[in-house]
């Protein structure tokens, strides 16, 4: 932080932003408890819409690179989020993709299996709780007697932060564990940063942190979590539950396996792995205990009814496929990026 802008307080400037995400990341920041005071000691928090009032125009007025650190959570689904991403990128020295959504798209990214029309159809018309007798849908422009109202454009495709602007660091997790947030903040405060572009975290996977005993793996049948009460001491995968701990970056302390539930992969892929789902699939495929194509098909079809949701739950938007095939060209602003073969449903 040597070249930190001199501010009246002599502290660095911190911004936090919330784009397409559930809000858990905001709470996770508070999860560092009283250490938040140390953060406040080191930084002036100049922009944090979730917690304090602030205006976009104030950010626009900050000189370029005037923000020392920006923790950006959420993916990019609307034109407003895209604008904020570009703005904060320009204004920040260090931009961190904070949490799974900004990093990999996370659950909002699963909507990349659908088009904007389909999403609107579900959200504004079809769900049982929708009460919309006039069939209103949000429009980018609406004329009212007082003038024209603007709403952000909703894109067909959710993009991750680094598919939108260059990102300096990634903090994985849904949400990131408070200890890891603190580790990252400490590293940033002390200037002990890894090379730009790195994920700040472990370089091995959840199994490393998991206390369960494991053996050579041979799987004859996959089970859903509701079908068995797993033995608490043996590797869950060996018991037929698809545990993503094998492929998921360590950092959480194997929270889910600890409570007898398989890892679902929120910490994303390990260092050097490009496509989390592909990586999971080739690992799982390797340990199916059969040489008979028909039996293999049966094992997979019965045990893994939702392959995209199972293997790409957090990472579809950031995968090599990025999204399901769009019928027609879609009317979102974002062009169809990949001709993905992921079928919907």
């Amino acid at each position: 932080m040597s070249e930190r802008e001199a501010s009246p307080s002599g502290k660095g400037k911190l911004a936090l932003y919330w784009a397409a995400s559930c809000g858990g990341c905001e709470i996770a920041v508070l999860g560092i408890d009283d250490k938040i005071l140390q953060v406040a000691e080191a930084f002036d928090i100049i922009f944090w819409p979730c917690v304090m009032d602030g205006k976009v125009r104030d950010v626009e007025k900050v000189p370029d690179k005037g923000i020392d650190l920006c923790l950006f959570n959420g993916g990019i689904r609307t034109s407003e989020q895209e604008y904020m991403a570009r703005l904060l990128r320009r204004k920040s020295k260090v931009l961190v993709a904070f949490g799974s959504c900004a990093h990999e798209g996370c659950i909002p990214g699963l909507a990349n299996l659908s088009s904007k029309e389909e999403i609107f159809q579900t959200a504004y018309h079809d769900t049982p709780s929708t009460d919309n007798p006039q069939g209103v849908e949000p429009q980018p422009e609406t004329k009212v007697p007082e003038g024209t109202l603007h709403l952000p454009v909703f894109y067909d495709t959710l993009k991750t932060l680094d598919q939108t602007v260059p990102v300096d660091y990634y903090l994985p997790g849904c949400p990131p564990e408070p200890e890891r947030i603190w580790d990252a903040l400490t590293a940033i405060l002390q200037g002990e940063l890894p090379p730009p572009g790195s994920v700040i975290g472990a370089t091995t996977t959840v199994c490393e942190e998991c206390q369960r005993t494991r053996h050579e793996k041979k799987i004859k049948e996959f089970k859903r979590t509701w079908q068995i009460i797993p033995d608490p001491d043996t590797c869950l995968l060996e018991q037929g539950l698809i545990c993503a701990g094998i492929a998921t970056r360590a950092g959480c302390g194997a929270l889910c396996p600890q409570v007898n539930s398989p890892c679902i992969g929120c910490y994303g892929p390990n260092e050097g792995v490009q496509d989390f789902g592909a990586c999971m699939m080739s690992a799982i495929a390797s340990v199916i205990d059969s040489d008979d194509p028909e039996e293999i098909e049966r094992i997979i079809e019965q045990g893994i009814p939702d392959p995209v949701g199972t293997f790409y739950r957090f990472s579809l938007a950031h995968s090599l496929l990025r999204r399901g095939r769009l019928k027609g060209s879609g009317n979102g602003r974002v062009p169809v990026v990949a001709d993905a073969a992921v079928e919907e449903g």
Partner: protein, 673 residues
């Protein structure tokens, strides 16, 4: 330093140049591909002049990377790696683009072929930029060799090596060595007495200082790698102490229990409960068959023990385990005979006077159950007519598609024996007579002269249901004689079925144990069907004889000797180079999930309990990439096939896509809503 890449486009005579515009491709590569400083086309890159070109350019142009676009890496990757090494470049700074097999041979349109060749070269150039220098590692070769299976092929290999001064362990699962050949009377086409040529070799084995014979033994586990195999084997209990037994055979004489000998006598003769398969058996020590021994069944008898002059009988003996370290392994586990009951319409097992070829071999053998007399199942009646049915289970889509290679000749041999020893008429029912080796066609001519009848056609049925008085009491061979285009019924007294040669029942298990592969039929697969017939894809494991496929004795012997020569080559070199294209595990990334542990086809991966990580034994790894693809931690990297290299190659292959519409203008910052 920016890399300097040389690209060489081979014409392969007109093989490539006939379809691909090689000059244009070379010019294009030089003009467009990043890093390319020289690009040439040349008639035959694999010629010494072509290789010289590469070498010279490395020296004069300071090339740091080389790409040759020619045939396939399978054929000439080694050639060009050598050329690079000759020019002083690490051989792994080389990449080959296959523009013959993958382009000119499979693409008709000249423009398309030329474009495709360009893209493959773009892929190779981008890839080679990411190559790393690799060095092979050296391991010493243990001088001991283990030969598994002591039929004629294994015996030959053992003697060759032992005579050359190298120590050999010869492992045989049966009580005696000799294999199938020990069961025969005569051998085609010379009609040598099988025993006369085999038993001297067997006793040489027994007496040889350099051969340790481990009979009645089986390999249970093999670990390690070329030059350094570790083998665990089980020596089955004979209940006879080999150190005290003199092989006098009194025990056999005194044993009161007689049983049918299903193995050596093919069910045609008897042996005792304590037995030697045949008088000249090597080793000479008998063995007790606990299934038929009265003592093992009822707890009394012990006649053998009572009469043994040296007290060698030991009813308490147990199987014992042995561990051996050897440098090379030769598998010579032979074949088995087709089970003729699988073709019920031929009546074997149901019609008494239908015999298998092995039964007939024993019958024809002067030391066999009938003393060499050719008789019907009753043991006394000489047949007046004999039918020999070829291709039983061979050349038959329901059983084995292949030709068993020796049955025609063995059938002729049988015909000769029948004609020589009886008054019978002999009929051969064949599809095609196959006599391709030295002296074989002449033997066929001889049998035609001797009066053997030949009927061309696959036998439909053998039955004892007579349709005319002439057929009463006979076996009737129903066949379509394809030379005259008519159905025929030939009544005979005796039928011999020439069953197919088959892989051993446990061939697949044995292959897995030794880390080699089997064909769909179950024969062990050689490294190259023409150019490397006794090596396998697993270095240090060789195959010889009929375990590789049907063949005759000369062929088996030649392979035994060839395998021995290959082993000697390894031993005299003293060390072997291990290919550096192997996988390795980054232990800091490995989470110990154990996904990879059971996947390696070469058992190269160990799990280290203490450290909680997996490790690859480099010398065992063949670089197949199975584990690399499976590791969900991305902890395993395949040298020469890492992600970076593969992605670069893919990007290169997509050169035209990325260069025509790839570069999208950066989207401008959208206006705030």
């Amino acid at each position: 330093m920016a890399e300097r890449v040389g690209v060489y486009v081979c014409h392969c005579g007109s093989n490539i140049a006939g379809v691909v515009d090689v000059e244009a491709v070379a010019r294009w590569a030089e003009a467009n591909l990043e890093g390319v400083v020289v690009a040439r086309d040349y008639k035959f890159m694999c010629s010494s002049l072509g290789q010289e070109l590469v070498k010279e350019d490395i020296e004069k142009e300071g090339l740091t990377r080389v790409v040759v676009a020619a045939c396939s890496p399978h054929l000439h990757e080694k050639t060009f790696r050598r050329a690079c090494a000759a020019g002083g470049l690490n051989p792994y700074y080389f990449q080959m683009a296959s523009i013959r097999e993958q382009v000119s041979w499979v693409t008709e349109d000249r423009a398309q072929a030329t474009q495709k060749a360009k893209m493959l070269i773009a892929g190779a150039v981008q890839r080679v930029l990411h190559h790393q220098a690799l060095e092979p590692s050296q391991v010493p070769v243990n001088e001991h060799t283990m030969i598994v299976g002591a039929g004629i092929a294994g015996i030959q290999a053992a003697l060759e090596l032992a005579d050359a001064g190298h120590p050999v362990y010869l492992v045989e699962r049966e009580p005696s060595i000799g294999g199938h050949m020990a069961q025969f009377d005569k051998t085609f086409p010379t009609l040598d007495c099988a025993a006369c040529i085999l038993t001297p070799k067997m006793s040489d084995v027994d007496a040889h200082d350099n051969i340790k014979l481990l009979s009645y033994s089986e390999v249970e586990e093999v670990s390690g790698f070329i030059g350094n195999f570790h083998v665990r084997l089980r020596k089955k209990a004979r209940y006879v102490d080999e150190d005290t037994c003199t092989g006098c055979g009194i025990c056999i004489e005194k044993c009161p229990k007689k049983v049918v000998d299903e193995v050596f006598e093919a069910g045609l003769g008897y042996r005792k409960a304590i037995y030697r398969p045949f008088p000249q058996a090597v080793p000479k020590y008998p063995v007790i068959d606990t299934e038929s021994c009265i003592y093992f069944e009822r707890g009394t008898c012990k006649a053998c023990e009572k009469f043994c002059p040296t007290g060698a009988i030991d009813f308490e003996q147990q199987d014992s385990m042995m561990e051996l370290d050897v440098g090379n392994i030769v598998l010579a586990t032979g074949f088995r005979l087709f089970d003729c009951t699988r073709i019920p319409q031929y009546g074997y097992g149901r019609l008494a006077n239908v015999f298998t070829s092995l039964e007939f071999e024993r019958m024809g053998n002067a030391a066999g159950p009938t003393g060499g007399r050719i008789v019907l199942r009753d043991g006394v009646t000489e047949p007046k007519s004999v039918a020999i049915v070829h291709c039983v289970g061979s050349r038959d889509s329901r059983h084995h598609p292949y030709c068993s290679a020796v049955c025609c000749m063995a059938a002729l041999k049988f015909g000769h024996l029948v004609l020589e020893r009886t008054q019978a008429e002999v009929y051969s029912f064949y599809i095609d007579i196959r006599t391709p080796q030295k002296g074989y066609e002449e033997f066929y001519d001889r049998l035609q002269e001797e009066g053997m009848h030949f009927v061309r056609g696959r036998v439909a049925e053998i039955t004892d249901a007579a349709r005319s008085p002439g057929e009463e009491g006979k076996l009737i061979v129903q066949v379509e004689d394809t030379l005259i285009g008519r159905q025929r019924r030939v009544p005979v007294d005796m039928v011999i079925l020439m069953g197919a040669m088959e892989p051993r029942l446990d061939a697949k298990e044995v292959a897995v144990r030794f880390g080699i592969s089997c064909s769909m039929d179950g024969w062990f697969i050689e490294r190259h069907p023409k150019l490397d017939p006794v090596a396998t894809m697993t270095d240090g494991v060789f195959i010889a004889g009929t375990c590789q496929g049907p063949k005759d004795i000369p062929g088996s012997v030649a392979q035994g000797a060839a395998a021995a020569a290959r082993v000697q080559g390894m031993i005299s070199r003293g060390t072997v180079l291990i290919e550096p294209v192997v996988a390795s595990i980054d232990e800091s990334k490995c989470s110990g999930c154990r996904i990879c542990n059971d996947l390696c086809p070469f058992n190269a991966i160990d799990y280290l309990e203490q450290e909680g990580v997996s490790r690859i034994q480099t010398a065992l790894c063949k670089g197949c990439g199975t584990c690399v693809a499976a590791c969900p931690s991305g902890a395993i990297t395949g040298a020469h096939f890492n992600d970076e290299q593969i992605m670069a190659e893919i990007e290169g292959l997509l050169y035209d896509v990325l260069h025509t519409n790839g570069a999208q203008a950066p989207a401008e910052e959208p206006a705030p809503a």
